[in-house]
């Protein structure tokens, strides 16, 4: 067990006899903002819940910051902030919320909290229950960032945020990514996370089918806009778009092109088997 991040080994978990995860392996290192992508029902929320001890594995091990989350040790909970998609905001004022809950997090930074609230344009003196859904979410995001927990788990954080708030969220999160912290964001709103999440993890049918940093994506995949729909073995993915076709191929020229997250996700899902070979470490790659 290391105290450097998250280490999941041979983990099995399911809600019924049919397992959702079977022998799942995943390692996440401190200092990254991971993006967790997957279709509906792929197991993204369940994975987040396993990581913070809200669900217990049936087999295998899960180590988070050197501890086993299923026992929910207080010392670990002090270092985890989980903002679920269906969150709870008590009917108390923001000031009372801070008084009651901030002391639970030993590294809570009240100045940073006030700064985040200002940036999210949230005023004090109001009860959280009087906030709109988006305002409540921004308040809890600001609180979560201010806790300075080493593990921040965000499930669909931009759902319900207006356009300026999404931009503020990206800015705040980019600033919050520190050396000793893991931010793991599960999302369908990939466009909101563009240029923010890196590495990318793709979960499909209970398995991690992709986990790569963006520079590896750029190194291995070539994305181009073409006028005519191409065909042939070299094409991994095509999608009709305004002005032509987005075409993804294996990068053989070494030219750097940028794949947006939606294209990357669709390419990986459409090429489950080939993608593993493409991203194999140098020397192991099939010719």
């Amino acid at each position: 067990m290391t105290d450097t991040g998250i280490e999941i080994k041979n983990l099995s978990f399911g809600y019924t006899k049919e397992l959702l995860f079977s022998n799942l392996d995943l390692t996440l290192e401190l200092g990254n903002i991971y993006g967790l992508l997957g279709k509906n029902g792929a197991g993204k929320t369940s994975l987040l819940k396993l990581i913070c001890g809200l669900r217990f594995p049936e087999a295998g091990s899960c180590s988070v910051l050197g501890r086993e989350p299923q026992y929910r040790p207080a010392a670990l909970l002090e270092d985890i902030y989980f903002l679920p998609e269906e969150f709870y905001a008590p009917a108390i004022s923001s000031e009372l919320y801070q008084q009651l809950y901030a002391p639970f997090y030993p590294r809570f930074n009240p100045e940073a909290f006030q700064e985040y609230l200002r940036e999210f344009d949230l005023r004090g003196g109001k009860k959280l229950s009087e906030f709109s859904y988006g305002q409540k979410k921004k308040f809890l995001l600001a609180f979560g960032l201010a806790t300075r927990c080493r593990l921040l788990l965000l499930d669909e954080p931009t759902n319900g945020l207006d356009i300026p708030s999404k931009s503020q969220f990206r800015k705040l999160l980019a600033r919050a990514g520190e050396e000793d912290r893991i931010i793991l964001i599960s999302t369908h709103q990939v466009r909101d996370m563009e240029n923010l999440i890196d590495p990318i993890i793709i979960l499909d049918e209970g398995a991690i089918i992709f986990q790569q940093p963006m520079y590896e994506v750029t190194r291995c995949l070539h994305v181009e806009l073409e006028q005519v729909q191409p065909s042939g073995d070299g094409v991994l993915y095509t999608d009709k778009t305004l002005g032509g076709y987005v075409v993804v191929r294996k990068n053989v020229s070494g030219e750097e092109t940028q794949a947006d997250l939606e294209t990357l996700f669709n390419t990986v899902i459409a090429n489950r088997d080939r993608i593993g070979e493409l991203f194999a470490p140098a020397g192991k790659e099939e010719v």
């Binding site: 819940k49 913070c52 001890g53 809200l54 669900r55 217990f56 026992y71 929910r72 040790p73 207080a74 010392a75 909970l77 002090e78 985890i80 902030y81 989980f82 679920p84 269906e86 969150f87 709870y88 008590p90 108390i92 009372l96 009651l100 809950y101 002391p103 639970f104 997090y105």
Partner: protein, 259 residues
């Protein structure tokens, strides 16, 4: 203990006490109004016996059992369960906080509240009528015994609160009734099997048996000490074991709750 901190327990206590304070104030206002009304009406009818213990008794037991049944409600509410379970505090600290709030916290709080309200009611009686009921004394043996019995019995409702997702108070009561019925049947069947020779129709008439035991001296020598021993064991189980067993069950259940 590695996973226990007085600081965190204090924070949880502060949180649990402040949660739902509005509802508590509303309940206190309603109960206070009711006590004053009953006290004044009773004085008006010149029924001047002691009424306050009779009024305090349901406030302590029924009110306390309902409050206890609601204590872990947040575990099973959408969003709240995740919030509570990921709140930095060990299962032991979270359990102890709820236990202290609903047992000693509720008992002492209700005692203090009822003493204040009943004093106000009797003050009003004396101002209006020039007489009133005896003041409520929270330090009598009867009141203190009731508080102790409450602290022991509420542990059962704490188990219900952590086990049942919905309607914990009603379900706990139903289970207690069911337990009572099963126990009665077991005792009745056992008695029938042992004493069926003394059956007179559907009844068991033990008088001839007791007379026989009395004549032989067995009643004094064997049965009475045995009954006293049984009573002692029952007392020890009630005062010493019932509540701790319920606390352990509640704590273990809280530890294994998933969201």
């Amino acid at each position: 203990m590695r996973d226990f901190s007085i600081r965190r327990l204090g924070l949880l206590l502060r949180r649990d006490f402040s949660a739902g304070y509005k509802s508590v104030f509303i309940a206190m206002a309603a109960v206070g109004g009711f006590v004053i009304l009953v006290s004044v009406l009773s004085a008006l009818g010149r029924e001047l016996g002691s009424i306050h213990f009779q009024l305090y008794f349901p406030l302590l037991f029924i009110g306390g059992f309902i409050a206890t049944s609601l204590s872990f409600k947040e575990l099973y509410l959408n969003g709240q369960g995740v919030f509570y379970l990921t709140l930095p505090g060990s299962s032991l600290e979270k359990f102890l906080s709820k236990l202290l709030v609903t047992s000693l916290g509720y008992a002492l709080g209700s005692l203090f509240f009822y003493t204040a309200v009943s004093s106000a009611a009797e003050g009003i009686n004396r101002v209006i009528f020039g007489f009133g009921h005896a003041f409520f004394n929270p330090f009598t043996r009867r009141v203190l015994l009731a508080v102790t019995v409450y602290v022991v019995t509420q542990a059962v409702f704490l188990v219900g609160s952590v086990y049942f997702r919905k309607l914990a108070f009603i379900k706990t009561n139903l289970y207690l009734w069911l337990f009572g019925i099963v126990l009665t049947i077991v005792v009745a069947v056992t008695a029938w099997v042992i004493f069926r020779d003394y059956a007179v129709g559907p009844r068991i008439g033990l008088e001839p048996y007791m007379q026989e035991l009395g004549r032989s001296g067995e009643l004094e020598a064997v049965l009475r000490p045995m009954a006293e021993k049984f009573l002692q064991v029952a007392k020890v189980l009630f005062w010493g074991a019932a509540a701790p067993v319920c606390w352990i069950i509640s704590y273990l259940r809280l530890r294994e709750t998933e969201a």
